[in-house]
């Protein structure tokens, strides 16, 4: 094994080269856990979404960032890029079938479905 320290690490150790083991802060792991206040808020029965309801949730996960980046429902490649939506930016030409320079969520969804996405 060879050792390589990052510059930052080297800088941090220079004043204190290879001193004793630092104290490790002890803590008991509880995973998954929620605090009592959150636990109390969960009394409502909710069955896990399945089928069409789940697909609608998947779609809303995809729609959220799209709508945030779009203006009046239309998204340009530049807007996608600026919002960090690299997947849409990279596939923009394939999504923008009409070559209009701006896409709607329905264009994006159709593109995903054509590639095999399980969306309604």
């Amino acid at each position: 094994m060879r050792l390589r320290l990052l510059l930052l690490a080297a800088a941090m150790t220079s004043a204190n080269a290879f001193a004793q083991a630092p104290t490790v802060r002890y803590g008991e792991l509880c995973d998954p856990c929620v605090p009592p206040a959150v636990r109390k808020s969960l009394s409502v029965q909710r069955e896990p979404s399945q089928g069409a309801a789940l697909r609608a949730e998947v779609e809303s996960r995809l729609r959220g960032p799209f709508d945030t980046a779009a203006r009046d429902g239309l998204l340009t490649r530049e807007q996608a890029q600026a919002a960090g939506l690299g997947f849409i930016a990279r596939n923009f030409d394939a999504i923008d079938r009409q070559g209009s320079g701006a896409i709607r969520f329905e264009d994006y969804k159709r593109f995903l479905k054509e590639r095999g996405a399980a969306l309604d």
């Binding site: 630092p22 803590g27 509880c30 995973d31 959150v38 789940l54 690299g86 399980a118």
Partner: protein
Amino acid sequence: MGATTLQYTATAGHLTALFPGASRQPEASFFYVAYTLDGQAPSTRPITFFYNGGPGSASVWLHLGSFGPRRIATGAPDLSGPQPFPLVDNAETLLDVTDMVFVDAIGTGYSEAIAPQTNGAFWGVDNDAAVFRDFVMRYLDVNSRNTSPKYLYGESYGGPRSAILASLLESAGVQLAGVVLQSPAMNYLSNCDIRENSTNCYGFLPSYAAAGAWAGLATPSPGPAQLPDYMVQMRSYAKTTYLPAAATFLSTALAPDALLGPLQGFTGLQASLWRARFNMGPTIFRNNLKPGTQYGRYDARVTGPPAASDNDPSSSLITPSFTTRIGEYLVNELRYTTQTGYVMSADSVGVWDFRHGNLPVPDSIPDLGAALAMNPGLKVLVLTGYHDVATPFLTTEDDMARLSSANITVRNYIGGHMTYLTDDSRVRQKADLAAWYRGTR
């Protein structure tokens, strides 16, 4: 590793995650330890990011317990050996398959927010996943790994973190090859340990039967070799017989007499307790299976003397060793020293913002669905332990089944939450992981 010696480089240090967008402002300083196999082409060599969960846990359990080049030999489920448990070379390291980056969540390990940000700003489901995305993207950029096949490996709360992170990475244009989910808590609303009064506990029943069998208190009590076949039967009993009865109990508080005897037989837990607490959560089970004994939550094969009801002997018996060994390992083997302590566990769970997607706690199955929608080639491997009563395998299987995706593979092992601590299971798990990684290429 067996007869082979792997030459590798260990890199310990910090890397700054940057806010996305034009500003590229520093966001947080992540501590990580990376293991890269020498003499490989970085552009084609697989790379996997590992993290535990909690939320609030350092990634020390995966780092020093699972598939890194060095591991702590706990002897699980027999944790009676001298402590601290020894740190040994890991014959099952994944380093022959993938480079590995073990990264600590903000506020754990040595990872911290960069002012004016605070650690607390990242203590929420969405912000945590977003800052992990920014770390992964920075790591790939700085280390010229953007063309490497990329994988995530998350445990427990690291499961929902992985699903959301996978969706965020795909959306950002970072295509993943695969996601490994170790005993994941994908949907907090399907786990009756989190809300026993309203979630059906059927998903725990086969795990209780496995625990009762290991303890020799159940009828039947099959050995490990027969357990997988027996668990097929118990899944069926749990879903067709116990589930509807538990649903009735949740709405009427009436336990059906006819099932109390069979449930005592299957699990070893007294019929009177089944009558009183028919929708049986794991805390009651592990504190009452046998008088004078407390069974483990992460690994119900592990026992200890009676203690506080929320104590977990399978955690409290290994935590001191992991705490000691990570401190020694970073300084003595990796030569990484700082003036502050390595934080095993942040006090973040009490203030964590669990809200996600219009729910008060995360259901990350839709996020995994979104990642699969953007990347139909994404493969998902789910690893579960039969004796885990924190994230029981049947609950996890049913969580994953919601997506009806052929890309998802589930494997079960003898053992608890950290299946890799059990020697035989770690060997099997390594073989399964190696085959799965090959299948994702």
